[in-house]
């Protein structure tokens, strides 16, 4: 009986019974694509958790932009329209997220500063600033703060058509930029010293990569939330590493698995009440990762185990 309800809901979702569904779905798939793309470079460079810092660091930007909007409104210069409002919040997120990513990049060079600690410091201190601002906003007498909480765990259903097209355009631009700079990025990822030797402007590429990371994070937070966006940057690329031995292959798998996870996340959160999009998406990605860990052709546990068995048998035969 109750299962029927879930199937019914899934059908409702898949046949786009409601107008918001295609946009929610599109936004979630977009998360998988952009995070899978950018995340691959970070994971391969051993810089996975900078995505976590960047994600958490967007919170003060969202809250700060909101405060600016309120302040402007108070002076009679209110920005008209939902879309402009949400774009303003995303710009705020981009500024503080980018600042967070750059801070990690800057702080982690030089003696007496550890990169892992720099990530943790930026993550928690920026988030602290965000919490301070959010609590302050909650104390304000405006009825508009409702939207901000959905940034924590993501609410794909809240993505409006206008917002979706903004996200999709920015996402497409990001993908094109990465494609254009693919070769230097690939060399930088594989061997930084060599990249410098062949005349690639590594600091600029580095900053560019951090910029791409910030954009990917900002495009994702509405659907997956600031706390869990790191997962979408780390888990699909890690799964991809088990599926292919080539950079393009890893990226393709990572983007593909990310997109499917996004789709499943949006579907699950629609079907099961109370399940936020972000966590659902992350768990779908984790499931793919576990599958890849066991059955992936490149270092998958099953194949390793089989090879070991075969060798043991061969050795047993000769001895």
């Amino acid at each position: 009986m109750s299962e029927n309800i879930y199937i019914e809901r899934a059908l409702e979702f898949l046949t786009f019974q409601y107008g918001f569904v295609p946009y929610a779905l599109g936004a979630s798939v977009l998360v998988g694509v952009v995070c899978g793309l950018v995340g691959t470079f970070l994971v391969l460079r051993g810089f996975s958790l900078i995505g976590d810092a960047t994600g958490h660091a967007t919170l003060p930007g969202v809250a700060g932009a909101f405060l600016v909007l309120v302040w402007l409104e108070g002076r009679g210069i209110g920005i008209s329209g939902e879309l402009h409002n949400s774009v303003a919040l995303l710009v705020g997120a981009l500024v503080s997220g980018g600042l967070g990513a750059l801070t990690v990049g800057l702080f982690s060079r030089g003696p007496r500063v550890r990169r892992d600690a720099a990530i943790g410091i930026v993550l928690s201190v920026f988030f602290g600033v965000g919490i301070v601002l959010l609590t302050y906003i909650q104390g304000l007498e405006t009825g508009r703060q409702a939207g901000l909480e959905s940034f924590l765990f993501g609410r794909a259903a809240g993505v409006t058509p206008g917002e979706f097209w903004v996200l999709a355009t920015a996402g497409a631009a990001l993908c094109i930029a990465v494609a254009v700079f693919f070769r230097p990025l690939a060399i930088l990822t594989f061997d930084e010293g060599y990249a410098r030797a062949v005349g690639i402007n590594t600091p600029a590429m580095e900053i560019g990569l951090l910029g791409a990371l910030s954009v990917a994070v900002v495009l994702s937070i509405q659907s997956v939330g600031v706390i869990l966006v790191a997962a979408m940057l780390i888990i699909p690329p890690s799964a991809g590493r088990f599926m292919s031995g080539r950079l393009t292959g890893v990226i393709a798998w990572s983007v593909g698995l990310g997109a499917v996870s996004g789709f499943l996340g949006a579907l699950t959160s629609y079907v099961f009440e109370g399940v936020a999009t972000g966590p659902a998406m992350v768990l779908a990605a984790t499931a793919f990762f576990v599958l890849a860990l066991f059955f992936g052709p490149h270092g998958g546990l099953l194949w390793l185990w089989l090879r070991r068995q075969r060798r043991a048998r061969a050795e047993g035969g000769t001895a």
């Binding site: 928690s124 988030f127 602290g128 919490i131 301070v132 780390i234 659902a280 768990l283 984790t286």
Partner: protein, 307 residues
């Protein structure tokens, strides 16, 4: 006159001031001391993981036992915390997963499970997700106070007793193993202590801000200290200073106390980063010998969390 009033004011309003101050000091000092060792072992991000993972731990403990008593929740968090540390270690032993990616995979997955549990099956339980995430310093319950005043001194006592083991295994793990120190046991002991302290401090400062209380004091102290004892002392001072300044700032601006404490801590770190006598970025280097950064440094960097 005005200053005295401003400083004394909050204390006269009611119990909440000393209750909040006591709790947050205890948590911050415990975190700072443990954080020094995590920092030196390049395990800072494990604090990140353990703090996030405590959430599903608490949820699981509640689901299994149906009880919200502190010891039950604490046990759940410790079990799930160690489980996650174990999975991180197992994953990181695969040649194509680096330790930082392993951390990222495990804790986000665990955290996602926790969030889903809290928002579905446990929706009717009296667990305030926001409080678990962001903390509520001024509204701590008696249970939290009792938990904190037992757990933190116990953890500090353990650190004092096992100081030599902790120090040597943080500095030179191979030598530690060679002179018979149970390095793995020390490692897991440290992680358990971190989890217990984090859970005790949950209600006051929340899952995410507690990460700052663990990492920032140690990182600040490392810019200023050349000896471990001094580093721990500075970390504790940093914790205490952040608590006082943050608490008053929160009252002055009517905002989250936990958030304000973390922000003050971050500002203190920034000051040390810029102006520390020998390692600050803005002051001219004194005549001491330039440290060589050898291959070993980079390798240790890449190894990240050596669990």
């Amino acid at each position: 006159m005005g200053l005295v009033e401003w400083v004394a004011g909050p204390w006269q309003v009611g119990d909440w001031m000393w209750r909040g101050m006591l709790t947050v000091h205890m948590v911050a000092i415990g975190c700072a001391v443990l954080g020094v060792f995590l920092y030196l072992r390049r395990m800072s991000l494990l604090a990140d993981a353990l703090a996030h993972v405590a959430l599903p731990g608490i949820a699981a403990a509640f689901l299994i036992s149906g009880s919200l008593d502190a010891p039950v929740l604490l046990t759940g968090a410790v079990v799930v915390g160690l489980l996650s540390a174990l999975s991180i270690e197992t994953l990181a032993s695969r040649p194509n997963i680096r330790s930082d990616a392993a951390i990222g995979i495990v804790f986000t997955s665990f955290f996602a499970v926790g969030v889903i549990l809290l928002s579905t099956v446990m929706r009717d339980a009296h667990i305030d997700t926001e409080c678990l995430l962001f903390g509520d310093v001024l509204g701590v319950t008696d249970q939290t106070i009792w938990l904190v005043v037992t757990v933190v001194p116990a953890v500090l006592l353990l650190v004092v007793l096992f100081y030599r083991w902790l120090a040597v295994s943080s500095f030179d793990p191979r030598f530690a193993a060679a002179i018979g120190i149970p390095v793995t046991l020390v490692n897991y002991g440290l992680m358990t202590s971190v989890t217990v302290t984090v859970v005790a401090g949950f209600e006051a400062v929340g899952a995410i801000l507690v990460i700052a209380l663990i990492i920032v004091p140690g990182a600040t102290a490392h810019l200023l200290a050349d000896r471990l004892v001094v580093m721990i002392a500075i970390a504790i001072s940093h914790a205490v200073a952040s608590c006082w300044l943050g608490m008053y700032a929160a009252i002055a601006f009517n905002t989250s106390a936990a958030g304000a404490i973390v922000v003050v801590g971050g500002i203190l770190y920034l000051l040390a980063f810029l102006f520390a006598p020998r390692h600050g970025r803005l002051l001219p280097k004194s005549g001491g010998k330039r440290r060589r950064s050898g291959v070993g440094d980079q390798r240790a960097e890449r190894e990240g969390v050596a669990t």
